[in-house]
């Protein structure tokens, strides 16, 4: 399947990544090659096969805990990791025009 730089641009947009034209071209080529490779999955008839979304261990899975509040990370600890914080908040560029 052909993958164009424009398609990659669209995908990058969905993933919130700004990429240069050169990168778009390179990733289009990589993506095309990888998709051609994974195409072999279509050799398999999987009708009636359940998709495996996770590894379930019958009888050993962690039971659901009761929905009760427990200790969690203190706000100041969380804010300490932020590139820009103040007044108990994460700061971001302005989103509303004055």
């Amino acid at each position: 399947m052909k993958v164009t730089p424009e398609q990659v641009k669209q995908i990058a947009n969905l993933a919130n990544l700004s990429l240069s034209d050169r990168d778009l071209e390179a990733y289009a080529k990589d993506l095309e090659e990888i998709l051609a490779y994974v195409d072999q999955l279509n050799e398999l008839d999987t009708s009636g096969v359940e998709p495996m979304a996770q590894v379930l261990h019958e009888g050993s899975a962690a039971p659901l805990r009761t929905d009760a509040a427990g200790p969690s990370l203190a706000p100041e600890s969380a804010l300490r990791c932020a590139p820009l914080a103040g007044a108990g908040h994460f700061k971001v560029p302005r989103v509303i025009e004055r």
Binding site: V8, A15, N16, L17, D23, Y27, H57, A62
Partner: protein
């Protein structure tokens, strides 16, 4: 310190009790060796002397007071830099988290230190654990201890190297598609991927949540058994951590493996397998037969579809997990972006290296409207078939023995220009990851150039003891000489 390189967890414990050395001295020795070697080897991204000496001090105080010391007391340990350590940088070898200081400890780290282990540093790896050669580290590559021109494997290259260089007797890594087993085989160390759910991932920075594991590296199987027993067990902070009692894998270790039935899957010995690797593994299987095991040929018919299934699933999960690096809460922020949207886009583009970006793009693509069923769902259906292959095999065998990697360590730069070739190097480890079973790599001799070769032992869900016993018997029998 003479003999440091040969210390094991049991001999450290004995040495501390007999006052032949202190935990502080061991920590100093580990740090000295690791620091002296790091410029050439690239093994560590940071060192943690303050934390190491604090824990070592507690161990030494317990010894002096004649108190019981923990099972890992005084053992210098290295931890992969995707595992959180409170108050210490946890970078995931990414520019995105270059300055990130973890606000809490991973459960595995807490359990190690509670048992007396002394964490001396954070090891280099592929960025966000994505890679098979450690060349995707945003900072510097790791050199293979057997040949500095070769890669240590990945993604836990630094953790494998820390053990193989003799900096620490043991380390922690993470394995999503082979990231513990493959570097263990490339560096000549023991590396264990436990059953999915055996070890809590709380505090492991997520890459692909249905596939991520934490597991140990060491020079001996017994030492990996010690570490695994320490970090295993349910955890209220990780809903996927199986609610099973912790097992004393080291205490239960037995070299009597007679009567065990080993499956040898024919799909793992065909095209693409390096002749020298194949010969060493065949010889290894013969040795296990001499120890009383019965080897039978089996088939895992969907093996050839594993890489395609894996790279669709892991990239889909990665693209979701890595959405959190938005430049707002903890990851690097791009300067001078006018709008919030531009800030997200620029921060992420600046923060991620090429392989991480590639995987986010592939993962976003396969999850996007119109492609979800054709790629993501199809890959999950094939994953079911691969898991079924193993389920059927384990109805008639106790363990499965294969090469860990089709070839020994390759040269730096050899595969970097071709992402698909790099993915194909994980062929033998990815199947077990998809099925969620346990696997380990044990040293099995060397290639004619002297490069380590690893033998993979796979066992059914929660049957780590069988796997460890086989590795232990193999190690005692021939000193890993293949």
């Amino acid at each position: 310190m003479d003999g440091y390189r040969d210390l094991t967890i049991d001999s450290i414990r004995a040495g501390l009790r007999e006052k032949r050395f202190t935990a502080r001295e061991l920590a100093e020795e580990a740090l000295r060796r690791a620091r002296d070697g790091n410029e050439a080897s690239g093994t560590f991204l940071s060192f943690t002397p303050e934390r190491a000496f604090a824990v070592a001090g507690r161990v030494d105080a317990s010894v002096a007071a004649g108190k019981d010391i923990g099972p890992l007391a005084g053992v210098p340990v290295a931890v992969k830099d995707v595992i959180m350590t409170a108050g210490i940088k946890t970078t995931c070898a990414s520019r995105a988290l270059e300055d990130f200081v973890a606000p809490y400890d991973a459960t595995a780290v807490k359990r190690l230190e509670k048992a007396g282990a002394v964490i001396v540093g954070k090891t280099n790896c592929d960025e966000f654990a994505m890679g098979s050669s450690n060349e995707n580290s945003a900072f510097y590559p790791v050199r293979n201890p057997a040949d500095p021109e070769r890669v240590p494997g990945g993604s836990s290259g630094g953790s494998a190297a820390a053990v193989a260089y003799g900096y620490t007797p043991a380390s922690l890594g993470s394995d999503t598609g082979g990231s513990i087993r493959q570097p263990a085989s490339f560096c000549g160390a023991v590396g264990v991927m436990p059953t999915y759910g055996r070890v809590s991932r709380y505090g492991l920075v997520a890459f692909a949540s249905s596939l991520d594991h934490i597991g140990p590296f060491s020079r001996t199987v017994r030492d990996s058994a010690h570490l695994l027993g320490t970090v295993a067990g349910g955890d209220p902070y990780d809903a996927t951590a199986a609610n099973m009692p912790a097992a004393d894998f080291a205490g239960a270790l037995s070299a009597d493996v007679s009567g065990l039935k080993l499956g040898i899957p024919r799909e793992y010995f065909g095209e693409g397998l390096d002749a020298a690797v194949g010969a060493r593994i065949e010889a290894g299987i013969k040795r296990l037969e001499r120890l009383g095991c019965q080897a039978v040929e089996i088939s895992l018919p969907h093996t050839r579809y594993a890489i395609a299934s894996y790279y669709l699933i892991c990239t889909a999960e990665a693209s979701s997990n890595l959405a959190r690096y938005d430049g707002v809460r903890y990851s690097r922020r791009s300067e001078d972006s006018e709008t919030l949207r531009d800030m997200y886009r620029n921060s992420r583009a600046e923060a991620f290296g090429p392989e991480v970006t590639r995987r986010i793009i592939l993962g976003t693509y396969v999850l996007s409207a119109g492609y979800y069923d054709a790629y993501y769902k199809k890959a999950q259906e094939v994953r079911s078939l691969i898991a079924r292959d193993f389920k059927q095999a384990f109805e008639s065998v106790d363990a499965i023995v294969t090469p860990t990697s089709p070839f020994p360590a390759f040269k730096l730069g050899e595969k970097t220009s071709d992402p698909l070739q790099m993915y194909l190097s994980d062929i033998y480890t990815i199947t077990g990851s998809l099925a969620g079973i346990a696997g380990m790599s044990v040293p099995c001799g060397a290639s004619p150039e002297g490069l380590p070769i690893g033998m993979q032992i796979l066992a059914n869900h929660f049957e780590e003891q069988t796997m460890l016993n086989l590795g232990h018997a193999f190690e005692l029998d021939g000193g890993f000489e293949g």
